[in-house]
């Protein structure tokens, strides 16, 4: 095949792929243009997760009527003129690519009126071709309407995630910018529903309340630090509040949302030992420095930046966060958990650790045909059953020790109980799920995204013994909980379910149900630290023996460690001496 210069159309579609990969990236580019235009008010309307319509209206400086067509040409920008400008970029955009890229993959309408201009002008571009250019009336500012996004790139369209995911991406994006620019009024409408409204009163905590709900906003700690020419501001969650993923860690550098692993590591390190392993803080950190200290021309979507002195920036962030944490940290409480953590530090006997590793290794190798240590596979159910176990006792109020014909078993009481409850629940599937009504319905207010997620899953919850109803806005009312959860705080249960939904979405409804049940069982199961009587220990082990996949908890962690007779003999040096 001969080498050819690509047709203009194809080239611009390829370029568009780098900048515009999903509806949220269009929103981002348009929003940044509005911000660069000095807007005080930005209104965003979305229909059908951005696939049908994305419309961004602002009251910024507008585009001169004669330059409208130039605005949608590639490498056309008003923000930069010479290469050396690249090193002191003060605007969010500079590549002159966004509008052209968007225009090449959608039907784009651009209407703008400059200050002092009598009339506005309107152009329509479809798939990169100008199809209309007329005079139009509108207030000062710019309106960009993007319709039928990706209509000419079916592959891209096919790879979009579910509508819910795309909608969430947009909501998340806009709320982050609303937080970064508290002086600007943001309004986001999704399918004619107001999802977010910030008042532009320059009060970050107020925006925070919009995003995370009043409760959490009140508890967030303020971060403020100035180190010569680096300024770190923002909010972080106190030690008691955490998430199971890093998604709520947000950094803005010079007003630009960036994803920088170094920055988040610095932040998480500042929490060192204060959060449990696998838990992450919620944080919105705004770092400001002079434009020369940071190179933004690294990534087409500008999600990454390069710092001239990365270490200094990381240190500044870390110091700021640490200082805020220390200033607000509560006095340590005497509780059973301190005892637990202390005993954890004492360190494990190396032999036991070795035994555990050996055990793991045995679990990981391909299953021997007659071996008793096969990898637990939900499919091959009958093979997985446990031998009869004799309970010896409880260790550290968290583990049960039991003896089987093939050695010693250490059983995690929490994980084991989770498994028992999970299978019991699953057996009852399709039958009546008993639930316990609350004396007083409890209301719970969630952040907008979480509220939307919960709303879509209400039917699932209500099928599994909850009665949760939408109570207007982002508020829900809990009337009943599954019977096995009675005695626990219903609000905490619902919150943890929502957190699970946020974790990631699976398109399989059955899997969502299994996840809800797994979470319910996790809550209801006996905790580590609970002392069990001999009868309770026995009952738990009996129930576990009857389970179909007794070796893992519903979340996939092991419920037990097996130390085989063989391993014990080797560890004690009895083998081979005879």
């Amino acid at each position: 095949m001969p080498i050819r210069i690509l047709a203009e159309e194809v080239a611009s579609q390829i370029a568009a792929g780098e900048v515009v990969e999903r509806p949220a990236s269009v929103v981002k580019e348009l929003m940044e243009n509005s911000l660069d235009a000095g807007a005080r008010r930005i209104e965003i309307r979305i229909a059908n997760a951005g696939k049908a319509l994305i419309e961004v209206t602002d009251d910024g400086c507008g585009i001169p009527a004669g330059e409208l067509t130039l605005a949608v040409a590639r490498h056309a920008t008003s923000k930069l003129s010479a290469a050396e400008d690249l090193f002191r970029i003060a605007t969010l955009g500079f590549r002159g690519e966004a509008l052209a890229s968007i225009a090449s993959v959608s039907r784009l309408t651009l209407i703008s009126r400059e200050q002092n201009a009598e009339m506005g002008r309107k152009i329509v571009v479809e798939g990169g071709k100008l199809i209309a250019n007329d005079a139009a009336g509108l207030p000062v500012g710019t309106l960009v309407r993007v319709e039928n996004l990706f209509f000419n790139v079916p592959a891209r369209l096919k790879f979009l995630k579910s509508d819910l995911t795309e909608k969430n991406q947009i909501t998340q994006l806009v709320s982050r910018y609303a937080l970064a620019y508290p002086q600007i009024r943001f309004r986001l409408m999704q399918d004619e529903r107001e999802v977010l409204l910030s008042h532009g009163k320059n009060n970050r905590r107020e925006v925070l309340a919009q995003i995370y709900g009043n409760d959490l906003a009140r508890q967030m700690l303020e971060v403020e630090l100035e180190d010569e020419d680096i300024r770190v501001r923002g909010f972080i969650s106190p030690v008691g509040i955490s998430r199971s993923n890093r998604r709520e860690i947000v950094f803005f550098v010079n007003g630009r949302w960036v994803q920088d692993a170094g920055l988040s590591t610095a932040l998480i390190q500042a929490y060192h030992t204060l959060l449990m392993v696998g838990r992450y803080p919620i944080a919105s950190i705004f770092v400001e420095m002079s434009p020369e200290m940071v190179d933004v021309n690294v990534h087409p979507a500008k999600a990454e930046v390069r710092f001239r002195d990365a270490d200094r920036v990381f240190r500044a962030v870390q110091r700021a966060v640490k200082r805020a944490l220390l200033a607000y940290s509560p006095a340590p409480q005497l509780s059973s958990s301190t005892w637990l953590s202390r005993s954890g530090e004492a360190g494990v006997d190396p032999a036991w650790e070795m035994a555990y590793e050996a055990n793991l290794a045995q679990m990981e190798v391909a299953p021997e045909p007659a071996g008793k240590e096969t990898v637990p596979q939900p499919v091959q159910l009958p093979v997985d059953s446990l031998p009869l176990l004799r309970v010896i006792g409880q260790v550290g109020a968290a583990y049960l020790v039991a003896e089987g014909p093939d050695g010693l078993y250490l059983i995690d009481q929490h994980a084991a109980h989770e498994r028992v409850l999970f299978e019991k629940f699953m057996r009852e599937a399709g039958k009546e799920i008993p639930s316990q009504a609350l004396l007083h319905p409890q209301t719970i207010e969630l952040p907008p995204q979480a509220a939307e997620l919960l709303q879509t899953q209400l039917a699932v919850l209500n099928r599994w013994g909850f009665e949760v109803e939408h109570f207007g806005g982002n508020t829900f009312r809990v009337r009943r909980v599954p019977a096995i959860l009675s005695g626990l705080d219903p609000l905490i249960i619902v919150r943890s379910l929502v957190e699970d939904f946020e974790e990631d979405e699976t398109p399989l409804q059955a899997e969502i149900e299994a996840r809800v049940i797994a979470r319910v069982c996790k809550r209801a199961a006996v905790k580590a630290g609970q002392i069990l009587s001999a009868e309770e220990q026995n009952a738990l082990v009996r129930d576990l023996e009857r389970c179909q996949s007794p070796r893992t908890c519903p979340h996939g962690r092991p419920t037990m460690i097996h130390l085989s007779v063989d391993l014990l003999e080797r560890q004690f040096g009895r083998r081979g001496s005879r």
Binding site: L334, R342, E432, P434, L439, H440, R480, A483, G487, D489
Partner: protein
């Protein structure tokens, strides 16, 4: 310190205070019991910083002094001593307590008494006087309804309100609520409204053995503590800070079906049903069937996938419409267990609205349970 005590006094005193020892604390001294001479008696104290218990026992004091010793060690030792008299001698230089009784001679290493947290002293003139027997019954009737969930500290407590000569206690776990009223012999001048940890009240009921006596309750202003004083013993507890749910709004004012049952018969039926129900989420169904001319009957039934099914019939006087309603059998059993009257009334509306349980002939006690729903 040098003192002699009788073995049975010391063993009794240790049994009382040891419940407040916190063996797993990061503060070693909290695993110890304070032993101090106090005005011709021996004072024993233990605390976990939330709950503190002090007890005085008769003793012959030769030299004054104080020491703390590990609770388990000391208590286990004292319980095995057979001699009647125990001599305690402290070597202040080594902080070692010598325990000598009959042919037994033991040295126990202690921790300086100075390190023991100070235990507040009540102002007995400011206290509220309560009859021990009455107060113990009140505690018993509400305390079981408190929550055991550490995530909701307020519900782990019992609301205690005293206004003039009215005393009210209430506890709830969000699914049921127990409210008990009573009268004081001496009205108080200022209203008291506090949330006391259920655990502290349970301990108090255990300590206050002499039912005919009075106990004194003292809430020192601004300290967030409550102190109970009985003869020879004191209990101090931290109060729980927070808003207790408004229980008056929760108690239903009317009913559609009024069912009167024999308390012991109903309790027995629940206990039998629980044997089956505990394998299946504790669900029992009450089928309330009014009779046309004969008295009605309540069918108490439970079934479990794995264990089986049971049905018990209890005779009842029923006014109103028939109803099939499900409850957590544990909730029913626990409230019936503390009702002292021979008959009990169950007032219901629908199978998804709260039900009220009241002893017949005692207007001071009300218990409300939310039903279960079988979806």
């Amino acid at each position: 310190m040098k003192a002699s005590v009788q073995q049975q006094h010391l063993a009794h005193g240790l049994a009382i205070v040891s419940k407040a020892v916190s063996p797993r604390s990061t503060l070693p001294v909290l695993a110890n019991i304070l032993i101090a001479s106090d005005d011709g008696r021996l004072r024993l104290s233990a605390t976990n910083l939330e709950l503190g218990i002090t007890c005085w026992i008769p003793a012959t004091i030769e030299d004054a002094g104080a020491i703390t010793v590990p609770a388990r060690t000391f208590q286990d030792l004292v319980n095995t001593l057979t001699g009647e008299r125990i001599d305690l001698t402290l070597d202040p230089r080594t902080q070692t307590l010598n325990v000598r009784s009959g042919s037994s001679n033991t040295d126990i290493k202690g921790i300086d008494a100075q390190e023991f947290p100070p235990i507040p002293v009540p102002d007995l003139s400011e206290g509220v006087s309560l009859n021990v027997n009455d107060f113990k019954e009140m505690i018993q009737q509400v305390v079981f309804a408190a929550s055991t969930d550490e995530a909701r500290p307020v519900l782990q407590g019992v609301l205690l309100n005293i206004k003039e000569d009215q005393i009210t206690m209430a506890a709830t776990d969000g699914f049921r609520i127990s409210v008990r009223k009573g009268l004081l012999s001496n009205p108080v001048r200022q209203e008291i409204s506090v949330i006391i940890p259920a655990r502290a009240l349970t301990e108090l009921a255990r300590i206050a053995t002499d039912g005919e006596q009075m106990l004194t309750m003292n809430v020192p202003p601004g300290r967030g503590q409550v102190i109970f004083h009985v003869k020879d013993a004191e209990l101090v507890s931290q109060l729980i800070d927070g808003n207790f749910p408004d229980y008056r709004a929760i108690i239903p004012r009317s009913y559609k079906t009024h069912t009167v049952l024999s308390t012991p018969a109903f309790l027995k039926a629940c206990k039998q049903a629980e044997i089956i129900a505990r394998e299946g989420n504790n669900v029992v169904r009450l089928n309330i069937l009014p009779g046309s001319d004969s008295p009605g009957v309540v069918e108490v039934s439970a079934q479990s996938e794995e264990t089986g099914a049971s049905q018990i019939q209890v005779d009842a006087n029923i006014e109103g419409s028939p109803l099939l309603i499900a409850f957590n059998v544990k909730f029913l059993r626990e409230v019936l267990d503390v009702i002292k009257t021979p008959s009990v009334a169950l007032e219901t509306n629908q199978n998804n609205t709260p039900a009220t349980i009241k002893p017949i002939g005692d207007d001071d006690f009300v218990h409300v349970i939310m039903p279960m729903h079988l979806g």
